[in-house]
C-alpha cells in the first residue's frame, strides 16, 4: 500500500493545530468553530500556508461532516420534547422566525442575491447554534436556571423547523422552473412526513436492527445506513444532509442515545474538516469586502436574538435579569448557518463570504455576551455604592 507522506504529515499537523486552537477556545469557554474557520482561511488558496495534499481529505471529510452534523441533530430530537415546547412556546418560535429571518432576507435582497440566496441568508441569520449554546449553558452551569427551558424550547423548535426549511432550500437552490421547485418542495415535505410516520410506526424494527449490543457494530450500522440514505437523498436531489437528518429522526430512545455517544468523536473529526473546508472555499480577499455587511447583520442579529430570548423568557414569567440571560444565550450562530450556506452556496456566489464573516463574528461575540450577561458583579457594586 502506498502511503502519502505529505498527506499524513499535513493532516497530522492540521489536527494538532486544531487541538491547540480548540483547547484555547475551551479555556475561555467560547466555541472553537470560528477558530476552525480562520484556520481554514489561512490554509486555503490565497491564505498564508496553503496545504495541497491534505486538501483532498478535507474536501471528502467535509461532506461526511455535514452528514454527521445533521445525523446527530436528528438523533437529539425527541417527539415528547417537541410537543412540550410547542405547547408553551409557539409564539416565541414565531417571534424568533420573524425577528431573525427578516434582517437576513432584507440584507440578501439589498446585496442583490438570487432568491435562493435570499432564503439562505434569512435562514443563516435565523438559526441559533444549538451545539454552541447547549455547550455554553453547561459550561456556565446555567442548566438549572429558570430561564433555561425557554432557551432550549426555542432551540428545539428551530431544529425542528430545519426539517422543513432545509429540503425546501435545497430544492429551490438547485434551480428549475417554479413548478419543478413546487414539486420538489412537496417531495421534500412528503419525505419528512414519511420519515416521522415511519419512525412512529416502524421505528422499533429499524431500531432493533441497528441497536446491536456491541458499540462497534452499532457505529458501523448507523453510519453505513446513514451514508446510504444520504446518497439516495442526493440522487433524488433532496441533499445528503437532509437524508441524514431524516435517519436521525427515525432513531429513538436508547438506540439514539447510544448512537450519539459512539458517533460523537467521528462527528467532531469530520465537522472540523467541514469547517476547514468552508474556510478553504472562501478566499480571504473576498472576505474583507463582505465585512461591513456581515458586521451590520451581526449587530442586528444580536439585538433581534436578545429580543427573542427576552420575549420567550417573559412568557415563562422570568424576571428582567433572567430575560437578558436568555436573550444573550441565543445570540451564537454556528454550524447550521454554515451548513445552510454550503447547501445554497453554488446557487449564490455572493453568499459564502457574508455568512462566513457573520458566523465568525457571532460565534465569537455571542458566547462572550452570554457570559457577561450573567456577571452581575458590576451591577452589585453599583448598588452598594448607591446605598452608601
Amino acid at each position: 500500500m502506498h502511503t502519502s507522506l505529505a498527506l499524513l504529515l499535513e493532516l497530522g499537523v492540521i489536527l494538532v493545530g486544531l487541538s491547540v486552537l480548540g483547547a484555547a477556545a475551551r479555556r475561555w469557554s467560547f466555541s472553537p468553530i470560528p477558530l476552525y474557520l480562520l484556520a481554514g482561511l489561512a490554509l486555503g488558496e490565497g491564505g498564508i500556508a496553503p496545504v495541497s495534499a491534505a486538501g483532498e481529505f478535507v474536501e471528502v471529510g467535509a461532506s461526511i461532516g455535514v452528514v454527521l452534523l445533521l445525523l446527530t441533530l436528528g438523533l437529539e430530537f425527541n417527539t415528547a420534547e417537541l410537543t412540550h415546547s410547542l405547547r408553551r412556546h409557539v409564539p416565541s418560535a414565531v417571534v424568533d422566525l420573524v425577528l431573525n429571518a427578516t434582517p437576513g432576507a432584507v440584507a440578501g435582497w439589498l446585496l442583490g442575491l438570487s432568491w435562493p440566496g435570499v432564503l439562505a441568508l434569512a435562514g443563516a441569520t435565523w438559526i441559533s447554534s444549538s451545539g454552541i449554546i447547549s455547550r455554553l449553558l453547561t459550561d456556565l452551569r446555567r442548566l438549572a436556571n429558570r430561564e433555561t427551558p425557554a432557551v432550549l424550547s426555542v432551540l428545539v423548535m428551530e431544529d425542528f423547523a430545519m426539517a422543513i426549511y432545509l429540503p425546501v432550500l435545497v430544492v429551490l437552490a438547485s434551480g428549475g422552473t417554479w413548478w419543478q421547485a413546487l414539486i420538489g418542495v412537496l417531495i421534500a415535505i412528503g419525505s419528512v412526513t414519511a420519515a416521522f410516520v415511519a419512525s412512529h410506526r416502524w421505528g422499533h424494527h429499524v431500531n432493533r436492527w441497528l441497536a446491536h449490543p456491541d458499540d462497534e457494530q452499532l457505529m458501523l450500522r448507523v453510519l453505513g445506513s446513514t451514508l446510504v440514505v444520504a446518497a439516495l437523498a442526493e440522487l433524488v436531489s433532496v441533499s445528503a444532509a437532509v437524508g441524514a437528518f431524516l435517519v436521525g429522526l427515525t432513531l429513538t430512545g436508547t438506540t439514539a442515545e447510544r448512537a450519539r455517544a459512539v458517533l460523537a468523536p467521528l462527528r467532531d473529526l469530520f465537522a472540523a474538516a467541514f469547517f476547514l473546508a468552508i474556510g478553504f472555499a472562501v478566499s480571504p480577499a473576498d472576505l474583507l469586502p463582505a465585512l461591513p455587511a456581515a458586521l451590520a447583520l451581526a449587530v442586528i442579529g444580536i439585538l433581534t436574538k436578545v429580543a427573542t430570548g427576552w420575549y420567550a423568557a417573559r412568557r415563562d414569567r422570568i424576571a428582567v435579569r433572567g430575560r437578558l440571560r436568555a436573550g444573550t444565550a441565543l445570540i451564537a450562530r454556528g454550524e447550521f448557518s454554515v451548513v445552510i450556506m454550503s447547501l445554497a452556496g453554488a446557487a449564490s456566489p455572493g453568499l459564502g463570504p457574508v455568512v462566513t464573516a457573520y458566523v465568525l463574528v457571532l460565534a465569537t461575540i455571542g458566547p462572550l455576551l452570554t457570559r457577561w450577561s450573567g456577571d452581575w458583579r458590576w451591577a452589585r457594586r453599583t448598588r452598594v455604592r448607591g446605598k452608601a
Binding site: 437529539e76 425527541n78 420534547e81 452551569r141 442548566l143 438549572a144 432551540l155 433572567g322
Partner: protein, 159 residues
C-alpha cells in the same frame, strides 16, 4: 412536600423544591445520567448557584445513603398501619435446597400466606420478583406477612 418537575429539551429534567429552611433547591437530571444540584440565589429568583455535580455512580451512592434507611422506615410504617402484619428479612443459605431454583418452586405464598416483595442481591434490589426469578445463595428476601407466615417462609428457605 411539593416537587416541581420541568422538562429541559435536549438536556433532561429539572426538579425543584423548597426545603424547611426556605432554600429553593434545584436538581438537574441529565439524559446521560449525571446530576447537578444548585440553589437559587436570594437576589435573583431565576439564577441557580451551582452547589455540586454528581456522576451516575456517585448519584447511585448518594441515593443509597439517603434511600436505604427511608425504605426500611416505610416498611415499618406500613406494618404499623395494618395490625398483625410484619416484615422480615431472610437470607438464602448456600446449603438451602432452593438456592439455584426459581422463586416459584418454594411455593412460599401458597404454603404460608406471606409474600416475598423484594430480593436484595449484592447492592441491587429486585422489587416484586416474578416466580421465575432464580434464587442465589446470599440473596436476602424481604417478606411481608404474619409472624407465623414469615417464620414459615424462613423454614422453607433454610431447609
Amino acid at each position: 412536600m411539593d416537587v416541581n418537575e420541568v422538562l429541559l429539551p435536549g438536556v433532561g429534567l429539572r426538579y425543584e423544591f423548597t426545603n424547611a429552611d426556605r432554600d429553593h433547591i434545584a436538581i438537574v437530571a441529565r439524559r446521560e445520567g449525571t446530576f447537578e444540584v444548585s440553589r437559587y440565589a436570594s437576589d435573583d429568583p431565576d439564577e441557580a448557584q451551582p452547589l455540586f455535580r454528581l456522576t451516575a455512580d456517585e448519584a447511585d451512592t448518594v441515593a443509597e445513603i439517603l434511600g436505604a434507611p427511608r425504605i426500611a422506615e416505610r416498611f415499618a410504617d406500613l406494618t404499623k398501619e395494618v395490625p398483625g402484619l410484619s416484615a422480615g428479612q431472610i437470607a438464602v443459605p448456600a446449603a438451602s435446597s432452593h438456592a439455584g431454583k426459581p422463586l416459584g418452586h418454594t411455593r412460599a405464598r401458597t404454603r404460608t400466606g406471606a409474600s416475598i416483595v423484594a430480593i436484595v442481591r449484592g447492592d441491587h434490589v429486585i422489587a416484586s420478583p416474578t416466580p421465575d426469578e432464580v434464587l442465589r445463595p446470599g440473596d436476602v428476601l424481604v417478606v411481608i406477612g404474619t409472624h407465623d407466615g414469615i417464620n414459615g417462609v424462613r423454614q422453607i428457605i433454610e431447609s
